[in-house]
Amino acid sequence: MTLRAADPCTIVVFGASGDLTHRKLLPALFALSREKLLHPKSSVVGFARRPLSDQEFRDASYPADPETPKHEWQRFAASLHYRTGSFERTEDYTALRAFLEGLERERGASGNRIYYLATPPDAYPLILEGLRAAGLVHPAGDPARWTRVIIEKPFGHDLASARALNAQVHASFDERQVFRIDHYLGKETVQNILVLRLGNGIFEPLWNNRYVDHVQISVAEAIGVEGRANYFERAGVLRDILQNHMLQLLTLTAMEPPARFEADAVRDEKVKVLRALAPLRREQVSERTVRAQYAAGAVAGGAVPGYREEPGVNPRSTTETFLAAKLEVDNWRWAGVPFYLRTGKRLAKRATEITIVFRHPPYALFRSAGCASLEANVLRLRIQPDEGISLSFGSKSPGQSLHIDPVRMDFNYLTSFGADPPEAYERLLLDCNLGDSTLFARRDEVELAWEHVDAIASAWQTDGPEIGSYAAGTWGPAEAERMLARDGRRWYRL
């Protein structure tokens, strides 16, 4: 499929002096510019409190890569602008409007806008109201120009706050204009889940409870809270990772084939999965979830302190840095197939993976030949790092005797295509520019995800398991292993 040409537009980044802007957004926009996927009449306007000139903003955005082609950077940098302003002051939005209109006239752009909210979430309501009050939002369906808003996670901190934020968003924007970003969905392997399942003849017939024994979804981080203690203390991995990344991966894994590959058709199917996800009852929470905090240890060759010793963390904190959960999707396809989810900080390595473990054959034909325990077939979708897919199966070892060895077929983006897949933000920014919201979360998805998270959080308050501990650099607490061992299963190593 060839890409449609993106419309010229002005991308206004709120929180432009922040880490996300410089680490991800501007490099992604520069990459799109280099690939000629950003219209030459497009501009990027940073907006933040810190006083900077256009030139200072450009200098601060210069890529660290020494091989950056200078002429390409100069062309992109000419489209970079910066406006100093406060998120609270109405007059700053009015000034922004005047600036944008002048810029668009100058560049011959048509007034299409993307507002990217790359700020802490408590600034979202202020910015949304500022945009609305200054008349910076054009109504959906305006044939002359469009306005879209990209909102970073976390989208609320519970169901009530998510609903309140949605209400505020919808006071200014139609749902068609809202792009709730979860950068995981921009990763190549995540997009490839649907291609693997639905673009090949061999997998979808097996993608159900007749052939799949269980599914594991793991999001492991080697880093700790890295200066985000204030946010993380309130969120924990339940809200920071499970509510968004993990449930998104689960829905893509479990969803039914959509009628069409279009945004709402795909998202309708994802919502059905969230509706079919069996809520954990209070009495199940102790048995089906594990929560823990990391203690001091060694990660990736460095000694690290325990979570409670991290700067900014309450020494008596009960915030979970690890969780494991056993969930079930109560529908025809998945009844009886557990979905085991685990995520944690300061684990042995950074890795995200979906592991589909298939059932054993109905009859152990080779037991009589001395091959008592054959490994299950396992399909692994590696989302990061080293994006790719592998399938393991048993094969007879060469020789006169019958020995069955596990072997694997491996697909790796780098070695198969000779190039790294594009950064997730590139894809997502381009999709927003093109008006394709397939890889963005819809209002009902977000709210349903919060319903599940709230149920777990609430049960933890009253009936949940005690918060356990694990040494940094391990794969989490022993209780997480025991949770699977009770079902006769084990976590697969990442």
């Binding site: 080697a222 240890g297 060694a298 990660v299 990736a300 060759g301 460095g302 000694a303 042995a348 390595k349 950074r350 890795a351 993976e353 001395g370 091959c371 008592a372 396992v378 692994r380 590696r382 790092p385 080293d386 592998s390 393991s392 070892s397 020995h403 069955i404 060895d405 596990p406 072997v407 694997r408 790796n412 780098l414 070695t415 000779g418 190039a419 790294d420 650099g473 697969y492 190593r493 990442l494």
Partner: protein, 389 residues
């Protein structure tokens, strides 16, 4: 990226091509992954087919003493069983050749944990491209040794088995013991131990872990001995003698009984259901059904290498047997000399296997090894009684 012409020297190195060699630098897992990616990206765009392959993660702690002899073994291992190879070296005793790969800071001033990445590539049989294994070398100062297991864990290929090759277990820092926790299989080699007590420690560990998780390469090397002895008892006149065996003598070279001799004694005793009673002088006494049996170790002064060189088995009436099975070094055949009941001399093929072949054989084994499980505790018990007359 550098690509190196086949290196001269040992046979195992003949087909080796090295890719990468980005230089040694302070350990950073993300940077190593980036370097590996850059290496493959560059290789993918170069001329000629190049295949990145890995069937296992292989972790090899290396001591200065074991480093050089193991190099060709590890090269051969990657040829026959492509792997992500982790070489753990200790800065204090590292050999000069390892330092020379890059302009590394001297250990005294170096950061505590250093790393470098390369790929070991082998020409495919019959040509048609190179098959490459990734090699990650981690060099630690003593202060950084406790951090090494976490550094390794951060770079394991997740869906591949983890093989830990502990050839120098007794001299490894204690903190490296945590490497065992991440290993699916631990391969030891009791033949690298100098004394009976440390050999016994290996067998005790193997008995504790079980043979599905733990192997002894000294046991693997015994395979042709065990096959030959089993074949002896396939002879009609010898098979009747099994029940009457009363005396086994194991002849060895070197200063003290080597690991293979203890293990073979453990195997014979365990297979025939003998129970160790005690040691009397140079003989180990066993209780067998209806009789007493002895096993003795006898040094051969003209053999300096620590090897098992012969096994003599004798039984009494009603089926007298006296047979000596002998083998030297890497000889392709062994002699089986029947002294009684009918004198005769037989030549038999001896399936000697090189170190790398033993290693790969054990990596491919997935089933528990019941014979080793039974023999290891007996060997440990014998060794614990000592061998000094």
């Amino acid at each position: 990226m550098k690509s190196q012409a086949p290196a001269p020297g040992a046979d195992g190195l003949k087909a080796l091509h090295l890719l990468g060699q980005y230089g040694e630098r302070p350990f950073d897992a993300a940077a190593i992954e980036r370097e590996l990616r850059a290496m493959w990206k560059s290789a993918a765009s170069s001329k000629g087919a190049l295949y990145r392959a890995a069937l296992a993660n292989v972790i090899v702690p290396l001591d200065a003493a074991t480093h050089a002899p193991l190099d060709p073994v590890l090269v051969e291992l990657t040829r026959r069983h492509p792997s992500r190879l982790f070489r753990l070296e200790r800065a204090a005793g590292r050999p000069a050749v390892a330092v020379a790969v890059a302009a590394a800071p001297t250990p005294a001033t170096a950061p505590s944990l250093l790393a470098r990445v390369t790929a070991l590539c082998h020409m495919r049989p019959g040509g048609g491209g190179l098959v490459c294994s990734e090699q990650i070398v981690l060099v630690s100062t003593p202060a950084a040794e406790p951090l090494l297991p976490s550094a390794v864990a951060s770079l394991l290929v997740g869906d591949l088995p983890v093989i830990l090759l502990r050839l120098d277990g007794d001299r490894e820092p204690e903190s490296w013991g945590t490497l065992e926790a991440i290993a699916d299989v631990v391969l030891e080699d009791s033949a690298t131990r100098d004394d009976a007590a440390s050999m016994a420690a290996v067998w005790t560990r193997i008995a504790a872990r079980g043979s599905s998780r733990s192997r002894d390469l000294a046991w693997t090397r015994l395979a042709p001995w065990r096959e030959l002895l089993a074949e002896v008892f396939d002879q009609p006149d010898a098979s009747r003698a099994i029940a009457g065996l009363r005396d086994v003598v194991l002849h060895y070279g070197g200063a003290a009984p080597p690991a293979g001799a203890w293990l073979l004694a453990g195997w014979i005793a365990s297979r025939l259901g003998w129970t160790l009673r005690d040691r009397h002088d140079t003989r180990y006494r066993f209780d067998a059904p209806g009789r007493s049996v002895t096993i003795a170790f006898q040094r051969e002064p003209d053999v300096t290498d620590p090897l098992l060189v012969a096994v003599r088995l004798r039984s009494g009436k009603p089926a007298p047997l006296d047979v000596v099975v002998s083998h030297r070094g890497r000889a392709a055949s062994a002699s089986v000399e029947f002294v009684a009941p009918e004198p005769r001399l037989l030549e038999r093929t001896f399936g000697y296997r090189e170190f790398a072949a033993c290693l790969i054989g054990e990596i491919h084994r997935h089933e528990p090894n019941a014979a080793l499980d039974a023999a290891a505790p007996v060997a440990a018990a014998l060794a614990a009684l000592g061998s000094t007359p």
